[in-house]
């Protein structure tokens, strides 16, 4: 392997057969390049699914009021269900051992002003637990607390981009903002991993929102966080019990699928993870197929290379090349081409993935990447099969009688 003469012979042969060398290398490099790209995209899709759940707590059950479809206990069909504050209390009282926290959410759009700056934002009336449900990260000040809810304060916790829009580079803490004609004091600024839209929100106490809306006690949604120790099965059981409880309380027919909608993030996450796993499996399968195509490509190339050089091998044998030196020469060449081309393909693939970055986010491919171990394993596999692909025709060539090889045209 480290014979200097053999290296020189090999480089000479490669240099003198540039087209053949380039084409062989290109085929191999493309094989690894496509494999890396496919694998990277697969991981990008997986990332996309994971990111979807990243900014929400996974131990939550979300309850949404809807419209009934069936009449029940004297109530007509098409009745709009309304959640109220007493629903929050009832859930807490009936499921005390399973619930970590509970929060309502009341969402409204509002024109928000500060001095000459103004913009439209979604303003959410929430309880303190909402911070955990949405995984809101406080970067300055504080979130809405129990005292704010009890005292119906006009305090607001604003998103990083709201602060940037209205205050520029200045801090908003302690400053007043006009939310739909009502002045609120900014007590906190937050960030969110869910992206820009999640940072263009304003949180206020839900009781303050209710007071502003003629002192009603309606809530848009209820978010119930269960204790993580319940596990997946426990979460599914709690989801069913909560659904049954709320349906009974709001007089909805048990067989009416409308009226209340329930979303269990834990169940959604599990389904999504299963989907992502299947997706990963498909991508791996396609990737392996590409790799296999590359291996078949090398085999074909090496058969062609040996065939093309049959006469040359005959000449070499006639002047003293032993079978082992013939095998060694071809093997050396094939492993060298495979290694260099594989490495180039690997670098090109990893480089392209890095260049793509998050630019395909709209196609659900976020941060496509391939792990070093997978990339190296794929390249080594290709080199190994490159060696085998070279060895088989090389051994055959070494066995040909010199006179037969010399007659080859």
């Amino acid at each position: 392997m480290w014979n200097r003469d053999r290296w020189q012979e090999m480089f000479y042969a490669l240099r003198k057969n540039k087209l053949r060398t380039t084409l062989s290398g290109f085929t191999l490099a493309m094989g690894i390049f496509i494999f890396v790209l496919l694998f990277g995209f697969g991981n990008g899709l997986k990332n996309s699914f994971e990111q979807f759940f990243l900014d929400d707590s996974t131990n939550t059950v979300w309850l949404y009021p809807g419209q009934t479809e069936k009449p029940y206990r004297g109530f007509k069909a098409k009745r709009r269900i309304i959640f109220r504050n007493d629903d929050l209390v009832d859930i807490q009282q009936n499921f005390p051992f399973f619930i970590d926290y509970i929060t309502p959410r009341i969402s409204r759009g509002a024109l928000v002003k500060r001095g000459k700056e103004s913009n439209n934002y979604t303003v959410r009336g929430v309880a303190p637990g909402h911070q955990y449900a949405e995984k809101t990260i406080i970067s300055n000040g504080r979130y809405i607390n129990d005292a704010d809810v009890n005292d119906e304060t006009k305090y607001a916790c604003i998103g990083r981009l709201v602060e940037k829009d209205l205050f520029g580079n200045k801090s908003a803490i302690g400053e007043q903002i006009d939310v739909g004609g009502v002045s609120f004091k900014v007590v906190g600024v937050f960030t969110d991993e869910g992206g820009d839209n999640e940072e263009r929100l304003i949180y206020i106490p839900y009781t303050t929102r209710q007071r502003l809306e003629k002192s009603n006690d309606r809530v848009d949604q209820i978010i119930v966080a269960f204790r993580p120790e319940l596990g997946h099965a426990g979460a599914l059981a709690l989801e069913k019990k909560l659904n049954d409880f709320m349906r009974k309380k709001h007089n909805i027919a048990p067989n009416d699928r409308s009226g209340i909608y329930v979303r269990n993030v834990a169940a959604d996450l599990k389904e999504s993870q299963q989907f992502a796993s299947v997706l990963q499996l498909i991508v791996t399968f396609v990737g392996l197929g590409t790799l296999l195509a590359g291996i078949i490509g090398i085999s074909n190339i090496m058969v062609f290379v040996v065939k093309e050089r049959t006469k040359e091998l005959g000449i070499r044998k006639a002047i003293g090349a032993t079978p082992n030196s013939v095998i060694g020469m071809i093997l050396h060449e094939s492993v060298f081409i495979t290694t260099i081309a594989g490495y180039v393909g690997l670098l090109a693939g990893v480089g392209t993935l890095a260049l793509i970055g998050d630019s395909l986010e709209e196609f659900f491919i976020i941060n496509p990447y391939i792990s070093t171990s997978t990339a190296v394993a794929a390249t080594i596999t290709l080199i190994l099969f490159g060696a085998i692909a070279g060895y088989i025709p090389a051994r055959r060539a070494a066995k040909i009688k010199p006179i037969i090889a010399l007659r080859d045209e």
Partner: protein, 234 residues
Amino acid sequence: MIEINELHKSYSIGQNTLHVLKGINFEVAAGEMVAIMGSSGSGKSTLLNILGMLDNADSGTYTLDKNIIKELDETKAAIYRNKFLGFVFQSFNLISYKTALENVMLPLYYQKVARKERQERAQKFLEQLGLGPWATHHPNELSGGQIQRVAIARALVSEPKVLLADEPTGALDSKTSYELMDVLQTINDKGITLLIVTHEEDIANMCKRIVHLKDGVIVEDKKVKQVRASSYVE
């Protein structure tokens, strides 16, 4: 130097068997220059290929420099070809992508001679054959006679005991043929045994002995008065 007894060789073509060599008995002493003649299909090239260990006989014995060739495996045969034998083919058989010098260096590569020494020895042989200025040229940049002389230099560079030439003048004009024979006679004068397959009478007469083959058997084996090729070369 060379001794063959009851050498037989057949080729199968479909269901037919072509018996090419039918019990050849033959001895060549060191320093001889032998022409093997015969019409097409007489078996002369087949005999030369077997003597050069490029092909195997079906039966019979072949002894080269007291070594029984049939008992050699392919690796040992390659080493023997490299050390004992030199080949000159009608179709030259140079490696097209190598220069004249690199082609001549090649047998020494398989002897694991250091690169610098390979280069020096190859250059020396090329210069002896009048090809010094053409050393860095590729075969397609040389004339037929020059290519054949490169092939001779390659055959001689490993200092073989026997030089085997299969129709070495077959692709050359008469003037170049005589020049080449002059080179081969000079080589023989230095003690190297030469076996030349030819169907040209005048070329055969430049050897010291002529063996006639007909239908796979030797029909005539005679010593002749060697005609010096130099008398034809201006």
